[in-house]
C-alpha cells in the first residue's frame, strides 16, 4: 500500500521532494521520508541546540531528544505553522526541560530592573551611559572577550537566552519567535529588551575600557 505515493520515489528524488509530501509520508509511517526530514534539518537543529546550550554534549543530547520527539509528535503536526517553526519549538522545549532545575531567581530579578533603566524626573538617563571605545571589528579575535561573551550568555536564564538566540542569532521575526516559544509578541519584545541590555552590561567593562582586557 502506498497511501502517500512515495514508495516509487528513488533515493535521489527523495532529496528534492517537496517538504509537504515528505511530511505526509513520514506521518503515514514511511521511514525513508522520516530519515530524509532528519537529513534536511539535522544541521539546523544541532546548531540551534548548541546556541542554546553552549555545550557540545548537551547540544547532541537535545538534538537526539528533538528528533525522537518529532517522530512521536509528527501526527499532531497540523501544518498551520511552518514545519521549521514547529521544529524550533520542540528544540526550545527540550532545552527548557534540561534547564528547569537550574537556580535562576537571582538573575531574573536583576533582569527585571533592566526593563526600564533608571531615569530622572525629566526622562533622561540617571547615570552616564558608558561609551564603548572599541568596535566589534577591533575585538573579534580577542579570546578573553570571547570567553566573557560565552560567560554572559551562560548567565542568562533560558527563557531570555532562547528569545535572544531566536531573534538576534537565528534572525527570526518577533512574531515567529513568539510562536516558537508560545508567548505573546509583547512578552517576546520584553524578554529581548532585557536580554540585550543584560548582555550589553556584561560586556561594557571590556568594551569601554580596552586597557583593562590586556593590561595596556
Amino acid at each position: 500500500m502506498d497511501a502517500h505515493g512515495i514508495s516509487h520515489v528513488t533515493g535521489g528524488q527523495l532529496k528534492t521532494l517537496a517538504e509537504g509530501k515528505l511530511i505526509a509520508a513520514a506521518r503515514g509511517g514511511d521511514a525513508r521520508a522520516f530519515s530524509e526530514l532528519v537529513r534536511r534539518y539535522e544541521q539546523t537543529v544541532y546548531r540551534y541546540a548548541f546556541k542554546l546550550c553552549r555545550d557540545r554534549e548537551k547540544a547532541e543530547e537535545t538534538f537526539q531528544d528533538t528528533f525522537i520527539n518529532v517522530y512521536r509528535k509528527l501526527r499532531s503536526f497540523d501544518g498551520r505553522s511552518r514545519f521549521s517553526t514547529w521544529l524550533y519549538a520542540i528544540v526550545t522545549n527540550n532545552c527548557l526541560m534540561r534547564h528547569r532545575r537550574r537556580k535562576i531567581r537571582d538573575i531574573e530579578e536583576s533582569l527585571e530592573a533592566l526593563e526600564s533603566p533608571g531615569t530622572t524626573a525629566d526622562g533622561k538617563f540617571a547615570h552616564e551611559i558608558a561609551r564603548w571605545e572599541e568596535t566589534p571589528a577591533d575585538v573579534m579575535l580577542d579570546r578573553e572577550l570571547r570567553s566573557q561573551i560565552e560567560r554572559a550568555i551562560g548567565k542568562l536564564p533560558p527563557d531570555y537566552r532562547i528569545v535572544f538566540t531566536l531573534r538576534d542569532m537565528e534572525g527570526k521575526s518577533t512574531e515567529e519567535t513568539a510562536r516558537i516559544v508560545g508567548i505573546s509578541g509583547e512578552a517576546a519584545k520584553s524578554r529581548l529588551r532585557r536580554a540585550r541590555a543584560f548582555l550589553r552590561e556584561e560586556l561594557t567593562p571590556y568594551m569601554s575600557h580596552p586597557g583593562r582586557r590586556d593590561g595596556r
Binding site: 546548531r47 547532541e60 528528533f67 512521536r72 526622562g123 564603548w132 540585550r196 550589553r200
Partner: protein
C-alpha cells in the same frame, strides 16, 4: 521625547529602518542626545558580537548516533528490518 521612550523603542527596532513619524522624532532625539546614541551603538555592537560566536557543525558521528537512538526508540526500523523491506520492494518490481 524622553530617553526612556527612546530606550524602549530602539530596543524593539534595533535592526529596522526608522521611517514613521515617531521614528523621525527618535532620529532627531538621537541626533541631539549623546547618551542615547552611545546606548544604541553599543546595543548594536552587542548583537554583532554575539552573532560572531561560532556555532559548530554537527560533530562527526552524531548523525550515526542519532540514527542508532532513533532505531532503539522504535522511530526507525532496525537495520535488518530495513534490509528485508528493501529486498521486498525490489522483488515487487
Amino acid at each position: 521625547m524622553k530617553c526612556s521612550d527612546v530606550y524602549r523603542h530602539i530596543c524593539d527596532n534595533l535592526d529596522q529602518r526608522l521611517g514613521t513619524r515617531r521614528c523621525r522624532e527618535i532620529r532627531r532625539h538621537l541626533g541631539a542626545c549623546p547618551d542615547c546614541r552611545a546606548y544604541l551603538e553599543s546595543l548594536k555592537a552587542t548583537v554583532v558580537l554575539y552573532r560572531s560566536l561560532p556555532a559548530p557543525p554537527l560533530p562527526k558521528g552524531a548523525h550515526d548516533r542519532l540514527i542508532r537512538a532513533l532505531r532503539e526508540s522504535g522511530c526507525l526500523p532496525t537495520q535488518a528490518a530495513g534490509t528485508r523491506r528493501a529486498h521486498s520492494r525490489r522483488a515487487q518490481k
